[in-house]
């Protein structure tokens, strides 16, 4: 028997009252008005997962927007505390942001390595950078493709998935998995690169450059798309920083902040690339179009990074530095942040000197980026909310952890 009280939706914040009023029509009649509460999700196609938005509307205009999350909550942090080995956390970290698993496992591995003070071989760093940047392209391709669908353009989605497939093929030939890799381990990698990988990755870079231009022509500079996204959902710089928004969303608001450059890790400081910033080309700085175009430009930068990393790839043993026994010092703690596809992905790890972590806190970029949604959505139209939520590019696996 299912309890009936379960079927009642959670309530609005306790201090919230729905406003009522009266207006006079042109014929002189008085009619009652009332704000209306509408649920969007948890199964709405544009919420990109199980996210429920409770929106209070005055006609077509959004007065307030209250996100309800937690539908995918599986207490990742509690799981980590029960692992008997730090390496066992990596597959769980994969499943946080399942569209960008490589960057997740890298973030956790990096945090554990800094905790243990392990130096990884140069070759490992290069391969990790190649993988992370390929993953970033794959993740941005999903973001851009589904964003096209949100705005009513179905075709770009098919093109982006063809290209993403090629990246997944590269991952598959490296480690056997297409989505959740368990490839980057603490201290090294599970496999070295397969024989033909470098050749095929170079082919991909060559193939993808013109495709990016085509995608831009097809979607980014499409007049209908521009009209739907420019000047919509403007996120001002100061609000973005106050809400600790990160990644393409922060850069879209005109803040030149990229952890690969500003809190450097791995070999990014040796490579030549530029963080991409929104300039308000089509409307206002920080609108939906800016967030979209930052992702498009970032993919081009990823290609530059991959090219340089492939050219400079040194020889070495990728398993040389993997520790046999992982036991950080007692009371050692560290917060390490990396730039994942969606922004600042941080792991705060506290050790109690045993083989399992005492505390792991995952600071997911999608979680924090989503928390600013009510700020942007207020005053927008219902139809634009779909585009605003899409431009944030959330993955609910990471929001709920």
């Amino acid at each position: 028997m299912i309890d009936q009280t379960m079927l009642q939706p959670p309530t609005l914040p306790t201090n919230y009252t729905v406003k009522q009023g009266h207006i006079k029509t042109s014929t002189g009649k008085t009619i009652r008005t009332e704000e209306m509460i509408i649920n969007m999700g948890p199964q709405h196609p544009s919420t990109h997962g199980v996210l429920r938005l409770e929106i209070v509307v005055d006609g077509e205009i959004i007065v307030d927007c209250i996100p309800h999350i937690g539908y995918l909550h599986r207490c990742f942090e509690k799981h980590c505390e029960h692992m008997t080995n730090y390496q066992m956390v990596i597959p769980y970290a994969d499943r946080m942001d399942y569209c960008s698993a490589m960057t997740n496992e890298w973030a956790f591995a990096l945090a554990a390595e800094r905790l243990l003070k392990i130096e990884v071989p140069e070759r490992v760093e290069y391969i990790r950078v190649i993988m992370a940047e390929l993953q970033r392209i794959a993740s941005h391709l999903i973001a851009v493709g589904t964003y096209g669908i949100d705005s009513g353009a179905f075709t770009p989605f098919l093109y982006t998935f063809i290209d993403r497939e090629k990246i997944l093929d590269l991952f598959e030939m490296t480690c056997g998995a297409r989505l959740l890799y368990n490839y980057i381990w603490i201290g090294g990698l599970s496999h070295d690169l397969p024989p033909k990988f470098i050749e095929q990755a170079k082919d991909f870079v060559e193939y993808f450059r013109p495709r990016l231009k085509m995608l831009n022509d097809l979607l980014s500079y499409n007049e209908i798309f521009v009209k739907r996204t420019a000047n919509v959902g403007v996120l001002p710089k100061d609000v973005a920083i106050n809400y600790a928004v990160s990644g393409p969303q922060l850069r879209g608001s005109g803040v030149n902040w990229d952890l690969r450059r500003d809190d450097p890790y791995s070999i990014y400081h040796k490579l030549e690339w530029e963080p991409q910033v929104g300039k308000g080309e089509m409307g206002t700085v920080g609108d939906c179009w800016d967030r979209h175009i930052v992702r498009m430009h970032e993919m081009e930068q990823c290609l530059n990074i991959i090219e340089q990393a492939l050219a400079g790839l040194p020889e070495g043993n990728v398993k040389a530095a993997i520790p046999k026994r992982i036991r950080p010092e007692k009371d050692a703690e560290i917060y390490v942040r990396t730039e994942s596809s969606r922004g600042e992905l941080g792991f705060y790890i506290v050790s109690d000197g045993t083989a399992s972590p005492f505390r792991v806190k995952a600071r997911g970029p999608a979680f924090v980026n989503l928390s600013v949604l009510p700020e942007i959505a207020k005053g927008a139209m219902i139809a634009d909310l779909v585009l605003i939520a899409g431009s944030i590019d959330i993955v609910l696996g990471e929001v709920d952890r």
Partner: protein, 158 residues
């Protein structure tokens, strides 16, 4: 600015609220009083030499000895320096002042810490559970947490 410089400036202004510090670790931290967090954080954000405008992460903690706490990782986008703040409370008095008025991002982080640890953030505008259902019993990330047996008539797997 190094952690020592930041500590020295804070020491002059909030001498009684700073109770402990540790600088010989990878990431130096300063302990602040749980009823002064808002005041100190406002100062850290608005002072022109500090400008900690970016709250990277806010984590709840259970130290498994009756002590709970919150750890703040702050960054300044302007000056690119970092500092870690810690504040502690006991199981009998789970109150810590909220900093969501200082940084908007703290709102959800604090709701999460309330949800999973039961830490009560005073002056928080909307302190509801975030990830667990509203009527869930207990706070799952506590070290002594026991899963409830039934939830609305459904057996909870443990």
């Amino acid at each position: 600015m190094t952690a020592q410089d930041i500590f020295d400036i804070l020491k002059v202004k909030f001498s009684d609220a700073l109770t402990e510090k540790k600088f010989d670790t990878v990431q130096p931290w300063v302990r602040i009083a749980p009823n002064k967090t808002k005041e100190i954080c406002f100062f850290l954000r608005d002072d022109s030499a500090m400008q900690f405008d970016y709250l990277s992460c806010l984590s709840g903690m259970d130290y498994n000895n009756g002590t709970f706490g919150v750890v703040y990782h702050l960054t300044s986008i302007v000056h690119k320096h970092k500092i870690v703040l810690k504040t502690f409370c006991t199981k009998d008095n789970m109150h810590i002042q909220s900093v969501s008025a200082v940084w908007g991002t703290a709102n959800w982080h604090e709701r999460e810490a309330f949800d999973l640890y039961g830490i009560i953030f005073d002056e928080h505008p909307d302190l509801r559970r975030l990830l667990m259902p509203d009527d869930w019993e207990g706070h799952p990330l506590r070290k002594d947490y026991k899963v409830q047996e039934f939830y609305h008539g459904m057996k909870v797997p443990s």
